[in-house]
């Protein structure tokens, strides 16, 4: 293992006790990169939202383990953002 890899490994996890090792988690929003065939255009094109035109995307939960991002789960972006809007609305109502 190179010095750089060793350093990354040390940074990305910490030892709380002999039994427990913790790892950093990140939630990132990424495009899925999906494509589909467009019959009218006669070619493969990126999948986009029919109303907004935005590319298909998702939230990925990543754990950094030994310097490597390990995907632990992925969440539909539209569903997550719908909950975000609902929570914002609820919090605004609470303040009012």
């Amino acid at each position: 293992m190179s010095d750089q890899q060793n350093e990354t490994t040390t940074r990305s996890r910490s030892r709380k006790s002999d039994e427990e090792v913790t790892f950093p988690l990140r939630l990132v929003k990424v495009e899925t990169g999906e494509t589909h065939w467009d019959t009218a255009q006669g070619r493969w094109v990126p999948v986009t939202h029919a109303e907004t035109g935005e590319p298909a995307s998702e939230y990925r939960l990543l754990a950094t383990i030994d310097g490597v991002d390990v995907p632990l789960g992925s969440y539909n972006a539209g569903r997550v953002e719908t909950v975000v809007r609902a929570q914002q609305q609820a919090q605004q109502s609470d303040k009012a």
Partner: protein, 285 residues
Amino acid sequence: MAALLTCVNAFKQSLTGGSFEALAAATRDSLQVVSTGEPNTPAGWIEETWAGNSASKMEWSIFSQRFGDNQNGLRGQQMFNPTLSGADGVPQLGFPRTVDVPVWSADTLNVQVNGTASDNANVGFQIYYQNFQGSEQRLAPYSLVENAIKSGISGNSRVLGIEVTVTPGTTGNYGTAVALNANDDRLQADYDYALLGYTSNAPVMCFGIVGPDTGQYRIPMPGHWDARHTADWFLQSSRWRMSPRVPIINANNKGQTFIDGIDPANPGATKLSLYFAQLPNKFNG
């Protein structure tokens, strides 16, 4: 006899929460049962229900004076499972598989939910009319389709999956409809195809297919996460009831046959594969 298989979807964005509140019918859907002129004969049957909530568990109910009772009628529970990365339990199929509950001529159904404030809620149901005057829907029985699949055509298996990418509406209503051949144009001209079922790459509360062969009525396809529920949806529906439930689509109508979707939480562009079996002969049903 003109049978009709269709659905009603109802929705509300941003619930008030804390008690039952009414959902409104989605665009071009109506909560009123069709009028048959025969008040004491079932006009049709509710065969399936489905529901979805954007962020929490909830209760739903479907009722009318002639459906259950006029208070809560059929009252069901909607689970919310945030550990499912796909859809948190949207949709759940809320009806017993083999129980079909009659609805009555011109009765108006109510759909309501008791949920959490600011959530979005949808509830829908499949309804089958045994004799709907004016409907020209083409529905085949399980036995006919099963024989066609097993026999093949001229030494070839002709079971296809046709991909179409469908985006449910952003505000709980139906989204933009997409032609059956928009993303995958492989149906062979002049042939009839039986729609067996479907699979999708993400859960969606309900897809619908509408076209000349469905009498321009939407046939529902709940987008359950478990493909074993959906891959043979129409075959099983027909088999359980020993009655025609398998839509027949003619390849020449592919450009006029549209698929759309509805969901409480804007799941985005979703790939849907429709499983078709090519029939060796023209279906005359």
